[in-house]
C-alpha cells in the first residue's frame, strides 16, 4: 500500500480513478485490491496466496486504508457541517451589507448637497482671497 493518509488516498482516487492496495512477496504481486469511487471493488489474488498469512496481511492493509478514509471523511463531514452553519450566517451578514448599502445610497443626495455647499464656499474663499490680493497689488502699484 503506497498511500497512507486519507488525503493521499483521495488524491490517488481523483488522480488515478481508484485506490490500489497491493501486497507483494518474493514472487511479485500476491494480492491487489482496487477500490473505485462508487464503492466497486476488484480483488485479484494469486492462487497460492489464498488462505495464507500474506492474504491476511493484505486484508489488514485494506482495512487500514478504509480507516484512513473514514478519518478523512469524518473531518470532511465536520468541515461541511461548519460550512452549513456559516451558510446560515452569511445571508444575515449579506442582508446587513445590502441594508447599509441602500442606506448609504439614500443618504447620497444629502451628501452631494453638503459637498456642493463646501465646494462653493471654498471657491468663494479662494476667489475672494485672489481678488483681495489682486486689488491690494493694484493699489500698491498706484501708490508708488
Amino acid at each position: 500500500m503506497n498511500a497512507t493518509t486519507g488525503e493521499d488516498l483521495v488524491r490517488e482516487l481523483l488522480g488515478r480513478g481508484c485506490i490500489t492496495i497491493l501486497t507483494v512477496d518474493d514472487r511479485g504481486d500476491a494480492a491487489r485490491t482496487r477500490l473505485f469511487p462508487g464503492g466497486d471493488v476488484i480483488n485479484v489474488v494469486r492462487r497460492d496466496v489464498v488462505g495464507s498469512p500474506l492474504l491476511a496481511r493484505h486484508l489488514a492493509d485494506v482495512q487500514a486504508t478504509l480507516a484512513a478514509l473514514a478519518a478523512l471523511v469524518a473531518r470532511t463531514e465536520a468541515v461541511l457541517d461548519r460550512l452549513a452553519r456559516y451558510r446560515r450566517v452569511i445571508p444575515a451578514a449579506g442582508a446587513l451589507v445590502v441594508g447599509l448599502g441602500s442606506g448609504l445610497s439614500g443618504l447620497a443626495p444629502a451628501l452631494w448637497a453638503v459637498l456642493a455647499v463646501l465646494a462653493w464656499a471654498l471657491v468663494r474663499v479662494v476667489v475672494g482671497e485672489l481678488g483681495r490680493r489682486s486689488a491690494q497689488a493694484f493699489a500698491d502699484r498706484l501708490m508708488k
Partner: protein, 266 residues
C-alpha cells in the same frame, strides 16, 4: 475498420477553473451515479503482473487485443470440438479473410463493434456445445460467460465512443499504439471508470461476484467449483471484500450526504 485519421482529441476548449469545476461536477455525478449499485469481483490468477494502468488509450487497445485473442481461442476450441457446427466454418473463413486485410491493433467504435459481432456469431456454436453435453460443459459455460462479457463490455465501450463523438462533435480519433501516448481523450469521469474496470477484469475468470443494489437486492454469483467447502478461503476473502465495499460505500454516501446538507444549509 474505421479509417478516421489519428488526430489528437481536443480538450473541448476547457481550461483553468472552469475545467476544474466541470471535472469536479463530473466526479460528483460519477459518485452519485455509481452509488446505486455495488459490484465486488474476486479473481484468482496463477500470476499477477504488476502492470500499472496505462491510461485510457492503451487501456482500450489492451482490451481490444485481449478480447480478440480470447475470441480466437474460443473459436479454435469450438472448431476442435465440433467442426460441423452450422455457420462456424463460414465464420472462421470470414475472420481469416478479415485478418488478411487488416490485423493491426486499433481501438475505435468500429473495432469494438466488430468484436461484439464476432462474440455474437460464436453464440450458436456454443449453445450447440452446451446442448450436446460433451462432458466439457463447465468449460463451455466459462466460454459462454466470457462471450457474454465481451459482448456486453464491447457495447459499453461503443457507448463511450458515442459519448466521445458527441463531445468532440466529430469522429473520435482511431487509437493505435503509435498515437496512444500523444492522444488526450476528453472522456467523462464515469466513462474513464468504465474503461478502467473493464481493463482491470480483462478476460480473467471471476470466481465470485456480488452485486448489491440500493433497493436491497443482492446477487451473488459463485463458480460451481468454489461453492463447496474447498472454496471457503476464497469465500472468506470475497466476504471481506464485500464488507470493504459496503464500508467504502458508506463513507462515500456520508460525504455526499454532508455535501447535500451543506448545499441545502441544514
Amino acid at each position: 475498420m474505421s479509417d478516421v485519421p489519428a488526430l489528437p482529441a481536443a480538450d473541448a476548449g476547457r481550461s483553468g477553473p472552469e475545467s476544474a469545476r466541470a471535472r469536479l461536477a463530473e466526479r460528483f455525478e460519477q459518485f452519485a451515479s455509481d452509488i446505486f449499485a455495488l459490484e465486488i469481483n474476486t479473481i484468482l490468477k496463477e500470476n499477477i503482473t504488476a502492470t500499472p494502468w496505462p491510461g485510457p488509450c492503451h487501456g482500450l487497445l489492451d482490451i481490444a487485443s485481449e478480447y480478440q485473442a480470447r475470441l480466437g481461442r474460443i473459436q479454435q476450441l469450438l472448431v476442435a470440438r465440433d467442426p460441423e457446427a452450422p455457420g462456424l466454418a463460414e465464420l472462421v473463413e470470414g475472420r481469416r479473410r478479415r485478418d488478411e486485410v487488416d490485423s493491426s491493433n486499433t481501438a475505435s467504435h468500429a473495432r469494438f463493434d466488430d468484436l461484439r459481432t464476432w462474440a455474437k456469431a460464436l453464440c450458436p456454436a456454443l449453445d450447440r456445445g452446451l446442448a450436446g453435453g460433451s462432458g466439457e460443459s463447465d468449460a463451455v459455460m466459462h466460454d459462454v460467460s466470457m462471450i457474454n462479457r465481451i459482448r456486453d463490455n464491447s457495447d459499453q465501450i461503443k457507448g463511450v465512443f458515442d459519448v466521445l463523438r458527441a463531445r468532440l462533435r466529430s469522429e473520435p480519433p482511431l487509437i493505435t499504439r503509435d498515437n496512444a501516448n500523444k492522444l488526450v481523450l476528453d472522456l467523462r469521469e464515469q466513462d474513464l471508470a468504465t474503461i478502467r474496470k473493464i481493463w482491470e477484469i480483462g478476460t480473467e475468470e471471476v470466481v465470485m461476484q456480488t452485486v448489491i443494489h440500493l433497493d436491497g437486492d443482492v446477487v451473488l454469483r459463485v463458480r460451481p467449483d468454489y461453492a463447496g467447502e474447498g472454496g471457503r478461503p476464497v469465500l472468506n476473502l470475497h466476504n471481506n471484500s464485500v464488507q470493504t465495499a459496503v464500508g467504502f460505500w458508506q463513507k462515500m454516501v456520508g460525504v455526499i450526504g454532508s455535501a447535500l446538507r451543506w448545499f441545502v444549509g441544514k
